[in-house]
């Protein structure tokens, strides 16, 4: 069976052990995690966990079923039609051209978030593929540090 990439969102109770339950499930059953983000859902006692995974159809189906089976899971959304975004923060030396970096960021839904005496911090939020392009393009400004945020997704 062919491997596919999937973004799966699990809506879970916002309680202390829930992330361990989810990540333990992936580790214990040998499922792959490419990216995982978690944050509380506003005005509720729920959290949203967004996982990017890879596997054949049987495995993807098992992942959604096993996630659903956790007592703390309210629902699992596995959709091909998801709008996905990822964020990245990049630190540059202040000796680089601020305006060039700014222009680059604009092309990727971003901007300068901090400019100090020694460093410039820039951000971008875009699809993962485009974030990769952004990181590539940023190389020419000698980045000091790159922090990727993991994927968040919402159904179309």
């Amino acid at each position: 069976m062919q491997e596919v990439r999937r973004v799966i969102s699990a809506i879970v109770m916002n309680e202390s052990s829930v992330l361990a339950r989810v990540s333990g499930l992936f580790a214990g059953r040998g499922y792959n995690i490419e990216s995982l983000t978690v944050a509380p859902i506003p005005n509720s006692d729920l959290s949203r966990i967004t996982i990017v995974t890879k596997g054949n159809q049987r495995i993807i189906e098992q992942i959604t079923k096993q996630l659903n089976k956790l007592i703390s899971t309210l629902k699992v959304i596995e959709h091909e039609e998801m709008v996905e975004k990822e964020m990245v923060l990049i630190k540059f030396p202040a000796s680089e051209h601020l305006s060039d970096i700014q222009a680059l960021c604009h092309a990727y839904n971003g901007g300068i978030v901090n400019a100090g005496e020694n460093i410039i911090i820039a951000m971008a939020a875009d699809e993962s593929k485009r974030i990769e392009h952004f990181i590539e393009a940023s190389q020419r400004y000698n980045p000091l540090e790159i922090v990727r945020g993991g994927i968040v997704a919402i159904e179309r």
């Binding site: 879970v12 098992q62 089976k69 007592i71 899971t73 309210l74």
Partner: protein, 564 residues
């Protein structure tokens, strides 16, 4: 009403209708034990090892269908309980285990006897809780019982820090649970059911594949009725022995690695598997690419994750097997023509004539299969049979005439040696009117033999029949077949004196070497009504057959009995 957390635990158990708790005390759970001392709503049985306490609660649950309850302390008490939890988890047994934990303020400090119980048990419980405040305690216990015994059942752990059992609070036991994230499905989808019924009507070689879920769901009567109406033959998994009844003409036998020839051939040739609460375990399917190659599959299961996990399914039906079977049966009344499957039944009957389940009996030495058949003749329906793990377990599953569900209790999923004796204690406490026989091996029995003391102290008369082959027989069998007879670490000829061992603990011991002695010992054991070891010297090199070698196709069975 204000009371301590410890009292709340007792009150909650009583409210849940618990009459027997198996356990072992220690520092972190002492408050609860103090409250147990002061109450008389339930009995506490002091097993002599936490693993045994959990297996006893498990055996109780399997025999009665009620939730089994065990109680242990933190740290080593809890880690000893893990094998019990994993055993129950693999076989979907409803159980609540309550463990003590170090006080909240000490959690995370490597306190004395601190271990991360919820962390360790996450993957072998259906759910687990670390109680964070006394306000949550009654609700959590209520939820634990509900989760354990609804949907696909399973063990639930409630880990309670010591300061919470000491604290006082208001006890309001909730009448109902409300867990918005947990809504097990019970009704099958009508459209799917209709399609499945049509597939049954169109098939020529349908087969009922009956699993442990039928026992757990108390659906045996419906399965028998369904089979009778349709005249569709059935195979049972290791966990489903007793569902169809041993004298049911439609029962072919047990399926899988040590299934009989007709059952495994039926699975290999059927054109429609009707799977009822079974999960296509690798010990059942053999080599997957060769498994049931000609079959469409109707898979009925309460756990959606079981469906499509191992094999592709044509008619998935998520739901309670009772609901689904009732609907299917009513649609088949008047539409199904049992004659349609006549030719198929004849083929299978011929397979069974060709290679019936058999063994070569002997007058010189007791054959283990004979011993089991003999217990069947002597006790039949009157007994509940538990077992440990190994050859004796497979022979018991093959040769005992099981007549009803919950008559056969064994660790099928995890295969836990040491399960049988404590599980037998639990079963006997749960169903005292039955004779409880643990069919065990000379290896397995030693893994929880301390339970002799428990059985003697509480007068729980369990008959342990040790089929003593001086070997870790099942492993030895694999060494014989697949490792050129290199008997690495399986020879148990250095033996304890089993008779003396039983007697040293207040039980009775019998040494048996002939059929006559066997009958005498079993009869005496029934009469004496005390815990006992019947140590039966059996043929050392007997093998469990048929056997599908691991990874082989189900239809490629080793069949012949050659005496070694």
């Amino acid at each position: 009403m204000k009371m301590s957390g410890a009292q709340m635990v007792c009150e909650a158990l009583i409210a849940e209708g618990v009459t027997t708790v198996f356990g072992y005390p220690g520092g972190a759970i002492m408050n609860v034990y103090d409250a147990i001392y002061k109450q008389n709503g339930f009995e506490h049985i002091l097993n002599r090892h936490e693993q045994a306490a959990v297996h006893a609660a498990d055996g109780y649950a399997r025999a009665t269908g009620k939730v089994g309850v065990a109680m242990v302390t933190s740290g080593p008490g809890f880690t000893n309980a893990i094998t019990g939890l994993a055993t129950a988890y693999m076989d979907s047994i409803p159980m609540v285990v309550i463990s003590g934990q170090v006080p909240l303020s000490l959690i995370g400090t490597d306190g004395f006897q601190e271990v991360d119980a919820v962390g360790i048990s996450r993957s072998c419980t259906k759910h687990n809780y670390l109680v964070g405040s006394i306000e949550d305690l009654p609700r959590i216990i209520k939820e634990a019982f509900y989760i354990a015994n609804s949907g696909r059942p399973g063990p639930v752990l409630v880990d309670i820090p010591k300061d919470i059992t000491a604290e006082y609070g208001v006890f309001n036991y909730p009448a109902e649970v409300n867990i918005p994230t947990y809504r097990p499905v019970s009704k099958g989808n009508d459209r799917q059911i209709k399609k499945a019924v049509d597939a049954i009507l169109e098939s020529k070689k349908p087969l009922l594949y009956v699993g442990g879920g039928v026992v757990l769901g108390n659906a045996s009567d419906l399965v028998r009725e369904f089979a009778k109406l349709t005249q569709i033959p059935a195979v049972e998994t290791l966990m489903a022995r007793g569902v169809m009844g041993s004298d049911n003409p439609l029962l072919l036998g047990m399926i899988g690695m040590h299934g009989n020839y007709a059952s495994n051939m039926a699975m290999s040739e059927t054109d429609l598997i009707i799977s009822l609460g079974a999960r296509f375990d690798d010990r059942v399917t053999g080599k997957l690419s060769e498994f049931a190659k000609y079959a469409q599959i109707i898979h009925i299961d309460i756990d959606p994750a079981n469906i499509g996990k191992i094999v592709d399914v044509d008619y998935p039906i998520v739901g309670d097997v009772n609901d689904v079977l009732q609907k299917m049966t009513s649609q088949l009344v008047g539409t199904v023509n049992p004659d349609r499957y006549q030719a198929w039944r004849e083929i299978l009957a011929r397979y069974d004539e060709l290679h019936p389940l058999s063994y070569n009996d002997s007058d010189e030495v007791i054959k283990p299969q004979w011993a089991i058949q003999r217990i069947g003749e002597m006790l039949g329906k009157k007994a509940i049979i538990t077992s440990d793990v190994g050859q004796h377990q497979m022979w018991a599953a093959q040769f005992y005439p099981f007549d009803r569900p919950r008559q056969w209790i064994n660790s099928g999923g995890l295969g836990t040696m040491g399960f049988g004796f404590p599980a037998a204690l639990g079963a006997k406490r749960g169903v005292p009117e039955k004779t409880v026989v643990n069919i065990t091996g000379d290896g397995s029995i030693l893994m929880n033999m301390q339970e002799l003391i428990t059985a003697a102290e509480y007068n729980i008369p369990v008959i342990n029949v040790i089929l003593n082959n001086n070997f870790l027989g099942m492993v030895r069998q694999w060494q014989t077949f697949f490792y050129d007879k290199r008997y690495s670490a399986t020879d148990l000829s250095f033996q304890p004196n089993f008779k003396a061992l039983a007697e040293a603990c207040g039980g009775i011991g019998y040494d048996v070497a002939t059929k006559k002695e066997f009958d005498e010992a079993i009869n005496d054991a029934i009469k004496q009504n005390k815990v006992c070891f019947v140590n039966v010297a059996v043929h050392r090199f007997e093998n469990v057959l048929p056997m599908v070698p691991a990874g082989g196709a189900l239809y490629n069975m080793l069949l012949e009995h050659k005496d070694q």
